[in-house]
């Protein structure tokens, strides 16, 4: 099993390398360069000044040279400076926002798991019951409603009309600390968290239902019954672990889905995470920031898949030895 995990980690390295090429390539292909984003807003600057600046920044060097300059500084942990925020370092800009996005993602994932898995199991045990039908109905609605639209409705009803939850931000008053701040943060995360997790919850509920139903009808469950095992043993020992195998694989992708969903959801709730920063940086052509965020999101997705593969091998013995 360790062999398997080590092999998976080794595959991670070339994938990371490919990711840097894609991120760098996309930034190169995007219209304009690091200077036009700043300069277009200022027609008074002499075009010759750009040329001098381009030369100074090394933007006229051949692309491979630029790539190796970028990747060697990234490898040393230097993500460069923002072109828009008065040259503040990218790392500094990203730091606080990365944490916010990770919290939101984890919170949303937690809601998804807590809601979807028990309901999915219940639906499978009592198919065609009232709760099963309600869950199915909710599932289709959850999948059909776009994130941003649900977010807007949630803000209008639950925040503006009912005033139960704050509509935006992460903290009511800056400078809160301790337990109070923690609870306030959670309070702020509920609406964006549910919005972000809506589609995932619906998907996992459906998957869990069909997986559990499938496993309950399998031969080895019949064997367990013939052995006289109790219903709870059959459900929690024999069924659950098998039903979770495909769910775990999906979870690996879910990290990517959550992060990309976060770009839009954060925008709707004006939540200061990577998503809002990413959108504003794209608009401002702040390529160092865009590249850094794309790299981080890419790495998180790769890590998500790596974790899924590792969990997968723990839960399913058939994977380990192949």
């Amino acid at each position: 099993m360790y062999k398997y995990i080590i092999r998976r980690i080794l595959i991670f390295i070339p994938m990371l390398f490919a990711l840097t090429i894609i991120v760098f390539g996309m930034a190169q292909l995007a219209p304009g360069d690091a200077l036009t984003g700043v300069s277009l807003s200022d027609p008074n600057i002499d075009p010759e000044v750009y040329e001098i600046q381009r030369e100074a920044y090394g933007l006229n060097d051949p692309i491979p040279v630029q790539y190796f300059r970028w990747i060697s500084s990234v490898a040393q942990g230097d993500l460069g400076n923002s072109l828009v925020f008065n040259g503040r370092s990218v790392a500094e800009l990203i730091q606080a926002r990365l944490a916010n996005t990770v919290y939101l993602g984890l919170f949303s994932l937690a809601i998804t798991i807590i809601v979807a898995i028990p309901i999915g199991i219940y639906s499978a045990r009592r198919p065609y019951s009232l709760l099963d039908y309600s869950a199915t109905g909710f599932g289709f609605i959850g999948l059909a409603i776009p994130n941003f639209f649900f977010g807007l409705i949630a803000i209008y009803v639950l925040s503006i009309k009912l005033g139960w939850f704050p509509a935006q931000g992460t903290l009511s008053t800056p400078g809160m600390t301790g337990m109070e701040a923690f609870i306030d943060r959670i309070h702020h995360m509920i609406l964006p968290g549910i919005t972000l997790g809506l589609a995932g919850t619906a998907t996992y509920m459906r998957y869990m239902r069909s997986e559990v139903l499938d496993v309950l009808g399998s031969d080895y469950i019949r064997t367990a019954r013939a052995k006289g095992m109790s219903e709870s043993n059959i459900l929690y020992k024999h069924t659950l672990r098998n039903a979770l195998i495909p769910i775990i694989t999906l979870m690996g992708f879910e990290i990517g889905v959550l992060l990309s969903g976060a770009v839009i959801t954060e925008q709707v709730f004006q939540y200061p995470g990577l998503g809002t920063l990413f959108l504003s940086s794209v608009t401002n052509r702040d390529y160092p920031v865009v590249m850094a965020i794309a790299m981080i999101l890419g790495i998180l997705i790769l890590v998500g898949n790596l974790l899924a593969d590792i969990f997968y091998s723990i839960i399913d013995p058939r994977i380990r030895y192949d």
């Binding site: 019949r222 013939a226 006289g228 013995p317």
Partner: protein, 328 residues
């Protein structure tokens, strides 16, 4: 040997309530009994109700199926009256069952040891270590080499024959009174089939179990069964001791099954077949259920279903061909 039967099934009816008010009479009035140490075989094609009979005895019929009528007595105890919870104490303990598909009958995510220890600890008051020792001993009993190592292995690491041995080890782990084997060798290689059947015979003798062997292979009946029930359309159509049934076959269906077997002593170009297929259990023909496929069908057969009658001592047949003789 005691003469009280281990298992008595009396007028068992298991119906499946399908959509559009269709009722599939999968098992329709089956009665038989098994004496201690006896092997009774149920023979029939797919869809004749053999497996449903077995699952009914285990009370493992799922919705929309239900045992509608009938008594099931295990050592005189009316187990058809027991609650699902009480049944968990019977299953695996007094009645054990092995299935057709050894490839999928073991849980893929738990070790062999885990799955054997589980049943021992469920029914017997043993510590984990005692149960482990017992499991290793059982694996050795069923002829598995390297038992200690196999305990830690997963089902996918074993061959089909080995898995079926594990299933047998599990089945005999709590000294059941009755072992139900539902087509235990159908999914195995021919060379392994005999080994597994011989192992079952050995275990039966060693542990004094009664065996209910379900098979569609009438060929293995002569060698392994004492008594045979031939099922068709959820009913018994012929019932006799194995010897009598094979020598003095009465029912056209049984004859058809026997003719479809290759015989090493005869040189034939073509094996016999029974034309058509088993009709679905919700759509049996009125009259004799075999009438749609029977080579000897008469007008009478299409009108009413014959009763199961005793044509010789302990030889029962459900066919009008023999009722006529009876009247003479």
């Amino acid at each position: 040997m005691k003469n009280d039967p281990v298992l008595e099934v009396d007028q068992l009816q298991t119906y499946f309530y399908l959509r559009d008010n269709k009722v599939a009479k999968a098992v329709d009035g089956i009665s038989f009994s098994i004496l201690p140490g006896e092997t009774v075989a149920i023979v029939g094609e797919s869809g004749s109700g053999k497996s449903i009979t077995a699952l009914s005895i285990m009370k493992l019929i799922n919705k929309p199926g239900r045992i509608v009528e009938g008594k099931i007595l295990l050592d005189g105890e009316e187990i058809h009256r027991l609650s699902p919870k009480q049944m968990t104490k019977i299953r695996g303990n007094d009645i054990a069952m092995i299935f057709q598909e050894p490839m999928t009958s073991l849980n893929p995510v738990y070790t062999i040891g885990n799955q054997i220890v589980e049943i021992i600890r469920k029914h017997q008051n043993k510590s984990k270590n005692e149960a482990m020792e017992r499991a290793i001993q059982l694996l050795k009993t069923v002829g598995i080499p390297r038992a200690e190592e196999i305990m830690k292995e997963y089902p996918h690491q074993l061959s089909g024959g080995m898995r079926q041995r594990v299933m047998i080890a599990m089945a005999i782990s709590c000294d059941p009174k009755l072992l139900i084997a539902d087509e235990p060798t159908t999914a195995l290689d021919v060379t392994i089939q005999a080994q597994i059947l011989d192992l079952m015979v050995e275990m039966k003798e060693r542990f004094q179990m009664a065996v209910l062997l379900i098979t569609h292979d009438i060929g293995i009946v002569s060698e392994y069964a004492d008594h045979v029930l031939v099922m068709y359309g959820g009913q018994i159509v012929e019932q006799a001791s194995a010897q009598v049934l094979l020598k003095d076959t009465k029912h056209p269906y049984t004859t058809g099954l026997l003719e479809s077997l290759p015989n090493i002593d005869e040189d034939v170009d073509r094996l016999g077949t029974i034309k058509g297929t088993v009709p679905p259990a919700y759509d049996f023909p009125t009259g004799c259920r075999f009438s749609s496929r029977c080579p000897h069908v008469m007008e009478k057969c299409k009108l009413s279903n014959p009763e199961l009658i005793e044509v010789d001592k302990d030889h029962f047949v459900r066919c009008y061909l023999y009722e006529r003789k009876e009247g003479q």
